[in-house]
């Protein structure tokens, strides 16, 4: 029988990142997937990145992950969102060719030392609450020191087209019943819901009358290491729903799975179905639909913005009311999916389950949504598993929420749990100005490891870091008085303060010629932008750190053994919230919405005087 260090179940974005980093750390790794062809499949929209999502993806990239690199290799269209704002919230988004992505990913995994097993896992084997392996339908038992489960939405999946329902995960997958039983038996689960739009044949769309959205070629890619486009870039197109569309949908809400109350689970607020949009914002002139090509040679288009669970006939009817889609043909209709996720509070903050040692969960099964969120969890769970097995060393601080979006995600999931599928937003991070995609290498210095990169990449990153340090060191040696700056037309306060070059940088236009003129050094635009904002945000880092410290100062006051109902003075609402979120420490309690300072006082008091006589 094979004996692995780490066994990863599921070959989606979480599974691949987990297996990849595990293999790079030199661990004997297996990746089990039910269907070889599912490996690296983009199950939903054909794009990677966006605001918040790119932020996680770039961290995965710098940790040695593959999502950005394979993404760039398969990209056919780029846009950078928020380009008019500071780089802390730039979100590069790439349209991905589905086939290319799967092919590139399969090629990559095959070329690695990961053992790829095509089989169905039917059970997890544990002994004394410690995982020792898995049982597969065909292969039988496989031993492993750690198991990472990344099976997405497979748990009790149910799909809905109008009133038609079907048991399944995604279309074409049968639910894995046995494994589901194991999970349901051991962990608290919650029912979630998501939806997907219909897929339309590209040849049935009249592009001539639609507004094209060309790819932006500004040298910004998903991966730090990508230097140029691999593929030809093609256009996306925009169209809009109209009053006629709205009327069709409104008249047929009773034929929607969601609105006829067949589905009761919590929907996603930031990913509303078209039914939702019409019901809540029906007074608008129209809602945008982004027609995203599924690939260079694909005959399908993904119409982003109209996920729905209406009856198939109605779907076709409303689609054909839309400009450019008058004669459209549909390959696969939109549907709603209901599935179970594990309550992420079942996890420790290293993503190991609290119940079963060395058993890790990552990805959508933890109640998240999105490829990037899954990838981040996959790599995080595997790094922690590797730490457990091989005793690899790294500073845990890199995964604190003040240092990385992965940290924010881990903290939010394991502390507060979820009520809807969790997606990353930059506003979730207190230290947003610092958690940028252009400085992830800096934030992860403590964990960046030559073995997780290929030689070229490591040379590049080391060279860049060295070069940056050299420039910063030189800048800091240069001294400027307010007078000398005035002479150069730089407006600063006449405070008599001598500033060094780094401090002066924020007053300049960040272009290489000006930089050269001012400091007599050559610099790339990319690096200049980065250090310009470092200079500009420096004072705010302090501010962010202060509020973060403020937020975390009561971290050591553990609340795990407190029965809140024993505190008679807490109001019913507050008690409900505390029981719902079960905060681990006072700091987390304070972050729960509506918890008042006086409620915190009462908890402190209860803790301090417990056992002593007090009314």
């Amino acid at each position: 029988m094979e004996h692995y260090d780490i066994l990863v179940i599921g070959a989606g974005h979480a599974g691949i990142e987990a297996a990849n980093i595990s293999e790079k750390y030199g661990l004997k790794t297996a990746l089990i997937t039910k269907n070889y062809s599912d490996l690296g499949k983009l199950s939903c929209n054909p794009s990677i990145g966006g605001v918040g999502k790119t932020h996680i993806a770039s961290e995965v990239d710098i940790l040695g992950g593959v999502i950005c690199k394979i993404g760039d290799k398969s990209a056919i269209h780029y846009r950078v969102l928020n380009l008019s704002k500071g780089p802390a919230v730039w979100g590069v988004r790439a349209q991905i060719d589905r086939d290319l992505y799967s092919k590139n990913m399969q090629k990559y995994v095959k070329s690695s030392k990961i053992d790829l097993i095509e089989d169905e896992v039917i059970n997890i084997i544990e002994k004394n609450n410690k995982v020792i392996g898995v049982e597969c339908a065909n292969t039988g038992k496989i031993k492993s020191k750690a198991v990472i489960l990344t099976t997405g939405t497979f748990l009790n999946g149910k799909i809905y087209f109008g009133k038609e329902t079907k048991e399944a995960g995604r279309i074409g997958n049968s639910s894995s019943k046995e494994l589901a039983k194991f999970i349901n038996k051991n962990f608290k689960t919650m029912r979630l819901k998501t939806g997907t739009p219909p897929r339309i044949y590209t040849k049935s769309i009249n592009y001539d009358i639609l507004e094209p959205q060309p790819s932006e070629n500004n040298g910004i890619f998903l991966s730090y290491f990508t230097k140029q486009n691999t593929n030809k870039n093609i256009n996306c197109f925009i169209t809009k729903t109209n009053n006629k569309t709205h009327k069709i949908i409104r008249d047929n809400l009773d034929k929607s799975a969601m609105y006829s109350a067949i589905i009761k689970s919590q929907g996603v607020r930031y990913c509303p179905s078209i039914e939702d949009k019409i019901t809540k914002f029906g007074d608008r002139n129209g809602h945008n639909i982004f027609l995203e090509p599924e690939g260079l040679n694909s005959e399908l288009v993904y119409p982003n913005g109209i996920s729905n669970s209406l009856d198939k006939k109605i779907q076709l009817k409303f689609l054909r009311s839309i400009k450019g889609l008058e004669k459209c043909e549909v390959d696969q209709f939109g549907y709603a999916v209901e599935y179970d996720s594990v309550d992420p509070r079942e996890l420790k903050n290293n993503f190991e389950t609290k119940k079963i040692e060395n058993f890790f969960l990552a990805g959508q099964i933890n109640g998240t949504t999105g490829y990037e969120e899954a990838a981040g969890q996959g790599i995080y769970a595997a790094i922690n598993a590797a730490k457990r097995i091989k005793k690899i060393k790294f500073n845990n601080k890199v995964f604190e929420r003040d240092n990385s979006y992965i940290g924010v995600l881990v903290d939010d999931l394991t502390k507060l749990g979820i009520t809807e599928p969790y997606r990353m937003f930059t506003s979730r991070a207190e230290n947003r100005l610092k958690l940028r995609t252009d400085n992830s290498y800096e934030r992860f210095t403590d964990i960046i490891n030559p073995i997780t990169f290929n030689k070229n990449d490591y040379t590049l990153i080391s060279k860049n870091i060295k070069n940056e340090k050299k420039i910063i060191d030189k800048l800091k040696l240069l001294k400027f008085t307010p007078n000398s700056l005035m002479k150069k037309n730089v407006k600063v306060k006449k405070d008599g303060k001598v500033r060094n070059g780094f401090e002066v940088l924020k007053f300049l236009d960040p272009t290489p010629p000006i930089f050269k003129d001012f400091f007599n050094m050559n610099i790339s635009q990319k690096l200049l932008t980065k250090i310009f904002f470092d200079s500009k945000y420096e004072v705010f880092y302090e501010r962010e750190k202060k509020s973060y410290d403020q937020l975390n100062k009561n971290k050591n006051m553990k609340l795990t053994n407190i029965d809140f109902s024993q505190i008679p003075s807490l109001s019913k609402e507050i008690l409900e919230k505390l029981n719902k979120y079960k905060p681990e420490n006072l700091n987390d309690a304070g972050k729960i919405s509506g918890i008042t300072p006086s409620a915190l006082f009462q908890i402190v008091k209860h803790k301090k005087v417990k056992g002593t006589k007090i009314a």
Partner: protein, 441 residues
Amino acid sequence: MFSPGTIYSNITPLVKSPVIGYRISGPDVLDILKKLTKRNFSREHSVIKVVKLYNYVGEILDKCSVVYFKSPKSFTGEDVCEIFLHGSPLIASQLEQTLKNFKIPGLRLAKNGEFSFRSVLNSKNSLKQVKAINAIISNESFSSLEYNKKLLFGGDVLSGLAPLREDIINLFSEITASIDFVDDEDFNFKQIKEKILAFYLKCNNILLNNKSKVNQKNICKVMLIGPVNVGKSTLFNKLIDKDRAIVTDIKGTTRDILSNKFIFDGKKFEIFDTAGQRSKQGKIEKYGYKKAQSISKDMDHFFVLADKNTKKSDIKQLFDDFPVGNNHTFILTKSDQYQYKSKNIKISQNHDRDLIMKKIKVSQIHKKYVSYKNQKIDFNLEEIDFLERILEYKHDIVKETDILIIAQLMRNILDDFSFEFGYINNEDVYDRVFSNFCIGK
């Protein structure tokens, strides 16, 4: 921060008066009452009992009213008793000595504000409500009295800051949405900036409108001036009614200027007695007279006193030396000794206080200078301070062009509100984002 145990303190000033009150709060109240009164109060919630108090050797300390409030139905939420001793500071000190001699572990004198603190701890009052109580006691003004009562009895939602909190969450939500969901709706930085400016304009207006109202004057300052021996001190003593009037903080400043506050018909006055004016003044009197002149500019009104012996030139001198203008009442004194033909107000030391008050029309005078009608206000002093703190961010926010920095500053403001009203977390913000904007594909 919090130390448990039973606490006690006097709740009236420790001065000779009809009653001196004590409050005791904490787990040992029943035990203490048993020791003090030799009675069991556990079934006597909220009933006034007249009982004998005994000191620690069993001698009678006093016979007085005692009321017990059972936890949690008390001000602090703990067991509480209030004892109303005969108003002798001596008895009060004997009570405190007795309590000390009981040697109950943890029993101690309460710190300033500790009863209120416990009432917040035990959810009997919100932080805002306790502050409101404090404001009511310190009687900022008639309008804020009404407002603070409203807060105290109606709760935090009635605070004038509550709508601003709504504004700031909505504003922050829009900023958040414009960053995180940039391609879902058309967001416009210029519009957001305009909304921020409008928010600040609103804050500013509220501040300007309410600041004067909150700080609204509620006391009328009157100075007595007149020649030596005209009867200023007699009137002064009548007005302050040393024996009966509600007199606060007796400020004997110099031997030349006495001032005293008194309340008549629910109206607050501060009255200043001055050194007399005479043509040939001694050194000390000269000093006193000068001093009276120097504080006279803060006065609302003057009582100009004269009698039969007062010369016209004396009066003219007074009018020259003090900013009397039209804000004065001319009063002739000693009407029991002299006959006056003039139509001016005439008083005598034989008149009782109420008659004098009526004659010299103190109520009308108060009305002239103090608006004690209930102007509607929406803030108390604390909240005005808070508003001013928020306005401190204005400069930074308005000049800033980087929306990320604006967002960071707005987050700071949101955190300030969190402290006043309970934590506002990301979920609260997202709730707004998703209900105000059509987000998502």
